[in-house]
Symmetry: D2
Subunit: 146 residues, 4 copies
């Protein structure tokens, strides 16, 4: 399963190079991840209330074409690896006027308990969500490190 | 009592006008507030652990002279109003090469309980801190709204 | 004229109090301003290309009710004061489940030349835009300082 | 050559997990990069004035141990790869109370012309700086992708 999230570049996200600052891509991927999880019928807010958090263990971003203020972008989000205690998502950032993506990204997360920060078996804790996520795993993008 | 906090403008804090984006001033004032509170012998982290938080109820910022990447700035911080349930701090942002401040700011905060977000009487909950803060109240700056 | 801008609170915008951090409101108002200007038939990007920028001279934000991650918010934006060299906009931030706004805000801007940062007479430089903006001036909100 | 940059985690940098939000690491690495470049006797501001910019082409961050509000961190910065048109820097983020780094990071940059965004030969454009940087290249960290 691949979801699409719309982003419009904010003025505050630009820097003095006149382009969107690179740190914002992680924030856009996160917004895309929020919508991706929602597409499984549970919000990430609810996941946290049920005691599961997904802190990052790794982030990679490849920047190909800069984005500018007021650009209308789409993030394509997919899961490419899933286990009961870990997940890896990948992202393509696109703008309608360019054939190739502006950017590729990946994030890796641990499933941890909200109180203790210790690993949590999400397959056991939230079996329905896990089954849906497992069914939606996609092929990884070639542009990224594994 | 007036504390001085050093800030160096980060690249990520600039925008495509080539100046520091206005939203960052609130973050700089907050960093200055952290050091201001620390000067009373307790960190804000400890205050939160002891059950007291200080969410903002009001923010004002006046922008006189823009700041730029790598500028070395100083925030001068003072309390100008204090009651057992509220506090108002004021800030001047200065750069060594200009006689007048780049910016003036104020923040108003409620003292609330970390669990319930309900008002907390900080004079009763942390009497020593309150006494020190009360003794350090300064005159308000004329540039700001009251 | 009053425009409506939809915002969904991002995870990155929360802080350890569990609410949206106060500095983000200025960014949301800015996103609302972008859409407000667009409603006059010119984007702010185009304004900058035509040599006019709108740096802030003043910001005020009043925080009434906290916003949380994934909250769906609406910013209502209006101009309340306009001259050939200055503009003041005001903002109400609302969430569907509360009758009263979460927050009120105002921003004041100078119209300046993109190259020199010197004041620019926008009535002369962009007469059509000015006429439209002038026709759309609204009453100020009572909650804010003048 | 390896430089050390001090960072204190800001409140605005925390999120509702109660830890520093992952997107800020890119901003801290950037602040460390600013000081790293300065150690060669030229500021990044001056580089830009002389027509050379260093946009990111790649970012990787590995998160091992979370950082918290008011934590005092040190970023260790080094160049591990350099050519006349590209540079790769690597970062270790440490806190005094842990033996192992909290985080590892890398950034890759193109040297481009400030006006055209086209590649620039920095060895030719700024030979003295290039020679110094070349002399200071260090071994890469094993934790990171190449």
């Amino acid at each position: 399963m691949i979801t699409e999230t719309k982003i419009v570049v904010r003025y505050a996200e630009t820097d003095q190079m006149g382009i969107a600052h690179h740190a914002n891509y992680a924030v856009w991927f996160e917004q895309a991840r929020t919508e991706f999880i929602k597409s499984f019928g549970i919000s990430y807010s609810e996941m946290e209330k049920r005691g599961v958090m997904m802190p990052l263990t790794k982030l990679e971003t490849i920047y190909k074409i800069p984005a500018h203020y007021e650009d209308e972008l789409t993030v394509y989000t997919r899961t490419v690896r899933l286990s009961p205690v870990r997940i890896r998502l990948e992202y393509e950032l696109r703008r309608a006027d360019t054939e190739r993506p502006l950017s590729f990204g990946s994030t890796e997360h641990a499933f941890v308990d909200s109180q203790t920060f210790l690993p949590v078996n999400v397959k056991r804790r939230m079996p329905e969500l896990y089954a849906k996520m497992e069914a939606g795993v996609e092929e990884p993008l070639r542009a990224l490190s594994k």
